[in-house]
């Protein structure tokens, strides 16, 4: 006998990372609905981006990166689809080979040799310089999350003051649209 009348937690299976694109009515509270669904049902949000993409129709597009077992991911998609303002849920990871991009703003501070090193690294990564003072730079880098991670790791050596990241925006390749 267990001490509970609920069944045991299931044996763990391997979780996988999925990127979901969700089209929703851009109405008040819709983000709270989506975020509340994840917290209420114990799902995990790694990244969430949202913006209105079709102004005349008031439709927003959310990109959510989440992790879970196959069964959990399936549940997440169905639960999202069940929300009344949700139009469509697309699992870009299942569709395969989607484009995922993130934008980061990185403020690096320092003087002398560090400054020129920072500029050289920024150029190597293809980052743009948005702001420069005598003792700081603000770089903008757009790329896959891994590239941004690497950029931040390298810059950390030179003295990062601040990082701001957007989270992932994603889209499938080819002619097919959401």
């Amino acid at each position: 006998m267990t001490q509970s009348h609920y069944s045991d937690a299931p044996a763990s299976s391997i979780p996988a990372r999925h990127t979901l694109s969700i089209l929703v009515d851009n109405e008040p509270g819709v983000l709270a609905r989506v975020a509340g669904l994840f917290s209420g049902r114990g799902y995990n949000i790694e990244s969430l981006t949202v913006s209105e993409t079709e102004h005349e129709k008031h439709v927003s597009r959310l990109t959510i990166v989440t992790t879970g077992t196959a069964m959990v991911i399936e549940q997440i998609k169905h639960q999202l689809d069940r929300l009344i303002p949700v139009h469509r849920v697309i699992d870009l990871t299942v569709q395969g080979d989607a484009i995922e991009r993130e934008l980061a703003l990185v403020k690096v501070t320092g003087r002398g040799e560090q400054r020129s090193e920072a500029l050289r690294i920024a150029a190597a990564f293809g980052a743009r310089t948005l702001d420069a003072t005598l003792n700081s730079f603000v770089f903008e880098l757009t790329g896959a999350s891994e590239d941004i991670e690497r950029f931040i790791r390298v810059m950390a050596e030179l003295g990062i003051a601040e990082v701001s990241r957007t989270g992932i925006a994603a889209m499938s390749r080819g002619a097919e649209a959401l």
């Binding site: 001490q3 509970s4 069944s7 509270g29 549940q75 169905h78 929300l83 009344i84 139009h87």
Partner: protein
């Protein structure tokens, strides 16, 4: 064609246009304009409850017994928060409700104004959908949409939160036209190729079983009729969840009784040993499955559900069909008839022999008594004495609820109103009031426990005010019986706080409310006392003093499989030492 009117008038007009006849509610500052608008008309009758939770449960009882959308009107702040339990109950049991809440004026929202709460924030998780109406221009659309969303797809509660300034504001009212939501379109028809595959699987089954739930009832009377036809045609055994009782007649020989934690031996064994399971409108709830990894290990599973998120949520199924139970059942019947399965009943004859052997165990037998009323006996007698009156039964939550599910027998859908998913004590009396409102001339009985009934006892006053002759049949064992049973099972019979201390005199209580009180403790006098209750034209509290220590069997204990039920051991005195029974595993496991 549009008409100029105030937001408050729009609410009443929309209710009228949606065919609402009854509205359960409680007034307060933030809904006064709506109450005022109601004052000038008589199409929508308002039923004044005594607590907002009661309003929501009453609307649930009304909805579930009539198939209509239940309607609630409460004020802001405490009005809304008191409604939360009812809304959550309706969400878990898929009951269509529209709950209108008042809100402080728009310019005060967020200022911690008097009787302000974030109603849409709080109810986001316990409604199917909710709205905060920011402008009177949106109000007619939202009101009509709320009815559409509540009743289409998997039904559920919808909250419409209306600030007081929006209620006063003038705007253009539009009658419902298409009445739809702009994007929400639940899938009604099942994928025909999957239905064909399912029927194919059924045709070759050697040990099939139907497992049906509340979805069949939600789908409407036709779905129940189609289910009956399909079950008859196939000759398969059928079992139902707590929520599904009545969709298939209990008197039919193919009926195995309820399944699950307190289901019958034959139903649970059939579920465990079947080779094809046809689940229609049920959701593999944890009270049904028992230990998941031992749940029906050798079966192919077919699952029909209007909610895609129900499929593969708890149990992996082989064929998941998204669609309305009625629509899918219709297609299944057509396909079955077209297929004309050859081996037919002969193929499943050995299966029926197994099932009959399980049935022969007579798992609901109990030790009778000449001196005390056994709770099972009380329900049996209540059933026998009322069955020809087509009664409507509601329940509270606990042992009495399970005994009612086991011993009361339902022949038609919409006759059984109980809190299944949320397990809300205090559901039964307000639900009975709502049911009686929808069926003024029918016999409505709330089968209750003495602990549960006290949770919404105040609604007795509502019953008296509206001359609703509901019968409250209390199985009084002076314990929160199910809590005590679990304490016997899991906590060494240490009855922490499960004894019902300082109970009121229910007979005097009934009289104090202006109803009738009856008490009975003698099995020999029970029949006459029940007849007296039925004959009385007003509300009755029947205080049925039953055997105190009786436990509810059969039972699938925690973490066990369907074939590991604890049975009612007739060789022991009722209810004793079940903790010990479980420790001696071999004896406990059937």
């Amino acid at each position: 064609m549009s008409e100029t009117m105030s937001g408050a008038e729009m609410v009443i007009k929309a209710l009228q246009d949606q065919g609402v006849e009854h509205l359960f509610g409680y007034p307060g500052g933030a809904v006064l304009p709506i109450y005022d608008a109601m004052f000038h008309q008589d199409k929508v009758q308002h039923i004044l409850v005594r607590h907002e939770q009661g309003a929501v449960h009453a609307a649930e009882g009304y909805a579930r017994s009539s198939g209509k959308v239940g309607c609630v009107l409460v004020t802001s702040g405490p009005g809304a928060t008191n409604a939360i339990t009812g809304l959550t109950d309706a969400l878990l049991d898929s009951i269509p409700l529209v709950c209108i809440t008042g809100q402080v004026p728009t310019h005060l929202i967020g200022s911690d104004a008097f009787q302000e709460c974030d109603t849409v924030g709080i109810t986001r998780h316990c409604t199917k959908h909710n709205y905060l109406v920011r402008s009177v221009e949106d109000l007619p659309r939202i009101l009509h949409e709320a009815f559409y969303v509540a009743s289409h797809g998997r039904p559920g509660p919808v909250v419409v939160d209306i600030p007081k300034d929006v209620q006063f504001a003038l705007g253009q009212y539009e009658k419902p036209q298409s009445n739809q939501h702009k994007t929400y379109r639940p899938q009604m028809d099942g994928d025909i190729s999957k239905i064909r595959a399912a029927v194919e699987l059924m045709a070759h089954a050697k040990k099939p079983v139907f497992y049906t739930g509340g979805g069949v009832i939600n789908s409407g009377d036709e779905a129940s009729a189609l289910l009956r036809e399909l079950v008859k045609l196939t000759g398969f055994p059928i079992t139902s969840t707590l929520m599904g009782l009545g969709s298939y007649p209990a008197a039919d020989p193919q009926w195995l009784g309820m399944l699950g934690m307190h289901g019958t031996y034959e139903a649970n064994m059939a579920m465990h040993d079947c080779d094809v399971m046809i689940c229609i409108g049920a959701r593999f709830d944890d009270r049904i499955t028992g230990r998941l990894n031992a749940f029906s290990p050798n079966s192919k599973k077919i699952h029909v559900d209007i909610d895609p998120s129900s499929i593969n949520k708890n149990v992996r199924v082989d064929i998941g069909i998204v669609g309305d139970c009625g629509h899918v059942l219709k297609d299944m019947l057509t396909e079955w008839k077209a297929l004309k399965p050859a081996p037919d009943r002969k193929a499943i004859a050995p299966w029926w022999e197994e099932v009959s052997a399980w049935k022969a165990k007579d798992c609901l037998a109990y030790r009778g008594s000449k001196t005390t009323i056994k709770p099972q006996y009380a329900i049996e007698r209540l059933y026998e004495l009322t069955k020809d009156m087509d009664p409507y039964i509601t329940t509270e939550v606990g042992q009495h609820q399970m005994w009612a599910a086991q011993y009361f027998r339902f022949e038609s859908p919409n006759r059984w109103m109980t809190s299944g998913g949320l397990g809300t004590m205090g559901y039964g009396l307000p639900a009975a009031i709502g049911t009686q409102m929808a069926h003024r001339d029918s016999l409505v009985i709330d089968i209750a426990g003495e602990a549960s009934i006290l949770m919404n006892m105040q609604e007795m006053s509502t019953a008296v005010q509206y001359r609703l002759p509901v019968k409250i049949f209390i199985l009084n064992n002076e314990y929160m019986g199910m809590v005590r049973q679990w304490q016997e099972l899991l906590h060494g019979s240490r009855y922490a706080e499960s004894y019902s201390q300082s109970l009121p005199d229910f007979v005097k209580l009934a009289e104090a409310y202006g109803g009738k009180g009856i008490r009975c403790s003698d099995p020999a006098k029970l029949d006459d006392a029940i007849r007296e209750m039925i004959a009385y034209p007003g509300p009755v509290i029947f205080d049925c003093l039953v055997e105190k220590m009786e436990n509810c069997f059969p039972m699938i204990p925690s973490g066990k499989a369907h074939n590991e039920m604890i049975m009612n051991d007739l060789s022991d005195d009722a209810g004793v030492e079940i903790g010990n029974i479980i420790d001696q595993k071999g004896k406990a496991l059937v």
